[in-house]
Amino acid sequence: MSIFTKYEPLARSLAAVTNGGGRNPFSVVIDHPVSSTVGVIEGRETLLFGTNNYLGLSQSEAAIDAAIDTLRTHGVGTTGSRIANGTQGLHRQLEERIAAFFRRRHCMVFSTGYQANLGMISALAGKDDYLLLDADSHASIYDGSRLSQAQVIRFRHNDPEDLHKRLRRLDGTPGAKLIVVEGIYSMMGDVVPMAEFAAVKRETGAWLLADEAHSVGVMGEHGRGVAEACGVEDDVDFVVGTFSKSLGTVGGYCVSDQDGLDLIRLCSRPYMFTASLPPDVIAATMAALSELEQQPELRHRLMDNARRLHAGLNAIGLRTGPQASPVVSVVLDEVAQAVQFWNRLLDLGVYVNLSLPPATPDQHPLLRTSVMATHDAAQIDQAIEIFATVAREIGAGH
């Protein structure tokens, strides 16, 4: 018996996706980017509608220049952990910049957003505490809960009343209760009802952590996310985020007004036992943050584009989530149909994400489509046109 025997069902699922000559959707190669919105795939220029590069800042000239200058002065890496030899002046400077952007007292920077969730959730929730997670939480939140010693309770997706019921069941039990929600959910693009969750938190004396990975730079007057947009930032005790989406680089962070955050640096394993961010990434991130702050028009263009894509896909009879958000997912019924749809889109020059159950809510396969501030109207219309062609071809939609 091979050590891989347990993965035979996985191998069969993968074979079911690729038989009939389809591509492996998990190993698409973007040979190189042409711009933020176009990449070369299979030798052809392809419209990118499946990234998290919401503001297009992965190709920011200012960020590229900052990174190159910093490479010359600082070298290519730190070779060490934040708590040993891996903290340079730049790491401190980045933490101060992020804290100031969020108007919070403290910031911890991690090497990825995945590690920020893993590191914060596992360290905040101890053995006698309770974690209350939205049922549709990102894998990094579930994994953080497994690394913690806490009792983990799931509540129904985006349902503050269901959370309240589960907190009431814990009435009188000792231990801190930490609620974890996301700002925009990455699969369907739906937005958390943050004010209602904040009310439950206040009423029950629980703590609230919001992962604003997909909403920072996207929502709120200053781009601080859904908590800002809903006017409840004071109720969110910990904001977790990532540099790998609207800021276009890589890395993660947590901001908070809690002085205890400094102690987390000494007990969060995903913070302590990995090398810190390289200097050029920090310089690029700070430059991208300046663009995000100084160009609110990027956010406005992003939301205009989101509305255009959402309306266009609905108009051709495809089913999407109810809200126009930078993530617009087309919901299909059958995995085989979704696979065929996704392959034909790529044949015709549009790249989106194929998301399959169990990674999707409600067991439906999704064509996860996302827009950028840097898409122009013609690119969006062309993508919708190609969606319409493929939908007709394979008889999807109404």
């Binding site: 809960s145 009792q151 983990v152 799931r154 129904r156 069941r169 814990l170 169990p358």
Partner: protein
């Protein structure tokens, strides 16, 4: 108020049979993952339904030790007794 393991098992089976994809011949000793072909997400979602019927929360770490329907019923009864 004080359900027995047999009561809870019966309720779990009744809830499961409402799903047409579940085999008709399940019993308390049926294995949830192997016999019902549930993936981890399906298990968590089905446990949520049971939680609502019985007004109890089953922490996810407890699920790791549960194999059969009777295991789940035992776990719920002990949670309800405030263990």
């Amino acid at each position: 108020m004080s359900e027995t393991v047999a009561d809870v098992s019966a309720l779990i089976i009744q809830t499961l049979l409402a799903n047409p994809k579940v085999p008709r011949d399940i019993s308390g000793s049926s294995k949830i993952v192997e016999d019902l072909a549930f993936d981890s997400l399906a298990v968590m979602n089905f446990v949520m339904e049971i939680e609502d019927s019985l007004d109890v929360s089953v922490p996810l770490d407890r699920l790791a030790d549960i194999r059969t329907i009777d295991d789940l019923a035992n776990c719920i009864v002990s949670l309800k007794q405030g263990d």
